[in-house]
Amino acid sequence: MADKYSADTIITETQKRISNAFDVFDHESNKTVDVREIGTIIRSLGCFPSEADLHDIIAELEEEEPTGFVRYEKFLPTMTKILLERKFRPITEDLLLQAFEVLDQQKKGHLEPEELTKYLTQEGEPFTQEEMDEMLSAAVDPDKNVILYKDFVSMMTFDDTR
């Protein structure tokens, strides 16, 4: 098994994955993507960077005179390094559940939409209203109008693996 997955093979496979993800956003087929899509591309490859992390990466990838586009030649080495070094590791289901439990200070087993909204739009790396609305549309139980975060976490992580 070891020789099948030699270092070279891993690098090539990794680069192919990067190339494919890049292509989905390369609308003009000229090996450039809009800089605003970089975050999406990196995340689609399985990484979990924070907004601050992305900010740094983008600064590295931009041209001296920012054009609003990122070229593939620059993106590939940066992204390869990120994947091979396994930066920005995934957040496990357990960790995620713990995070929700921290926010649920009264240990109710659920969160009110207003509570969650307050945390996520004011703390940390705040969500935009649009991001918050999107998350709520998936998270809020329509009958009880609360977020049953245990169920939510299970459902979302199940989805991810499909």
């Binding site: 099948k4 192919k16 494919n20 993800a21 292509d23 989905v24 956003f25 609308h27 003009e28 087929s29 975050g39 999406t40 990196i42 995340r43 689609s44 990484c47 979990f48 960077p49 924070s50 907004e51 995934p90 957040i91 960790l95 995620l96 713990q98 995070a99 929700f100 921290v102 926010l103 200070q105 945390y119 996520l120 703390e123 940390g124 790396e125 705040p126 969500f127 991001e131 999107e134 998350m135 549309s137 998936a138 329509p142 979302m156 989805d159 991810d160």
Partner: protein, 658 residues
Amino acid sequence: MGCGVTKTSEFNRKFDKAMKAAVLIQRWYRQYAARMEVRRRYTWNIFQSMEYADLQDQIKLYNFLGYLMDNFTPSRNLISHIFRENEVCRDAEWERYFSYNNITVPDIYSGPRLTFPLDMDQAAHLVEAFKNKQQLHSRYVLQLLLETWKLLRVLPNINRVSTCHSKEITICGDLHGQLEDLLLIFYKNGMPSLEKPYVFNGDYVDRGKDSIEILLILFAFLLVFPGDVYLNRGNHEDHIINLRYGFTKEVLNKYKLHGKRILKLLQKIFSWLPLVTVIDQRVLIVHGGISDTTDLALIARVDRHRYVSALRPPKKKTPSRTNVYADSERYDEMIICKNRRGSLTFPKPFGARESFQRRSLQDFSSTILDLLWSDPMSHDGCIPNEVRGGGCYWGPDVTEGFLNRHNLQLIIRSHECKQDGYEFCHNRKVLTLFSASNYYEVGSNRGAFVRLGPDLVPYFVQYQATSMTRGLSFPQNVKRTEHTALKVLREQLFVHKSDLLSAFQEIDKENTGLICLNDWASAIERVLHLDLPWRVLHPQLVSSTTDGKLDYHGWFRDLALKKPSSEHIEQTMLETLYRHRSTLETIFRIVDTDNSGLITFEDFRQTLKLLSAYLKMEISDEVINELVISTDTNNDGSIDIDEFMEAFRLVDKKLKQQ
């Protein structure tokens, strides 16, 4: 160490923990959203490429029929009527043909009863009636359409609108028969009136199921407020396109007795719809777009009504009343395939007989084609639009030049579906506006309309018809749309089964049934000519083994045609017919000259022979007989088109077994 201090540090710790938790959740959710976005993106790519591929099919078919006409083939008689101009009668005679006076409305009819001239209340009542799923009686339909035709005939090619008196003008894009979206727009923005002028930018019909209702509403408001409602023609306001994309079928189903008459009248109305609208001499509104030769002065002068269909270039006016249809005239009509211009008809050499008249005929045809079919592109230049088969792709430099020449500041166009209902390009000098939400599938996109006041700054309103999306969250929307897209894509793969299998087997010489991802992707690209991210899509389409190889037979096994093969008809024949079912259905509808939905055995036979010529593939008499017998025919010796096409549905074998 008093209580206060402990509480503060305790609080700080809690706060710190809460913040860390929030960051974690945000980080995680953004990753999830990104993965959803990728799926949404490639789902979108799938729908768009399928849509355009289908459109190309229609073009090819029409080219083929044109070829048949030129070459005096026997089946010519079946189809010649769609090439005939029928302009032998005067308008007055047509008005007699479209007469509604002898149509009686039964007492039991509970729908709207219109009296002319229409007023605002009647128009509003009509909207309400359609909202309640009522149908307008054919007598009133014809009457309304006749009045509309009369009005349109006196309108210029270019609608000129002004925002004086601080009027805000509302502009809507493609509606495609989606009545719910029009009702939503009226709900959010109010109905058209003296204070609320509207411009509608074409493509009112096809694909959606309430095309005729949308037309009736728009025409009613046009008649009531002729100075405040403006209609542009779209590329779907074209009776030959309607044959394939559903409008013809809709009208014939809803109006069994008078459908044919209604369609004929609509054919005329479509050709009389204005071509463009200009607001305050600053903003151009046109359905498709422009080209590097678009000139408003020229557009103002053309006889727009002679351009009946994109696929049927205008005939020269014949002085005699007899229906002369010499072959030499056909040559005159062909849109020439110039060096950079695409052509919608079968390209033929023009010969030495160029004349000024012919050239100007061709010029105005391609002018209108450009207006209704073109799309913007991001690089400079102007090239033929080969994806659609008509019009061009125009670049930012062409926009710049055009706006400067005409002293305009913005082009508003439609024609392309956009996820958020609208999108700017060309340095915000071109705006694409699309008003049919959920166009590809429930949840696929929003619709939008725009308001322009005297400052000409666009104000957008977006929406999504929610009766189907109610209760669906964003991820559910994405998944549902993706599911449909993949289904459509799998069908496409099935349709090219034999070609794909040969391509795979060329690579897999040892016949292991397995192939690596790269080879699989390149083979698919070669066969399908669809520009899609195959490597990203592959997990959804084909199963892989543990060492990363793909089993390319697997997914073929699960799909099958509904119609089982029989003695004379092999599976491959059925598959071929399935692949071309849109074409087959279109030909049927063309052959069905009285638009009854039924064709005779003989015509059916002829149609299949026509198809076999088109495909350059033999369809034997035994096969045709078998198809005739096996279709559940009515006892009157005719075949129901819908019933026949029903047999050509793809079913999932796995589902069948359940």
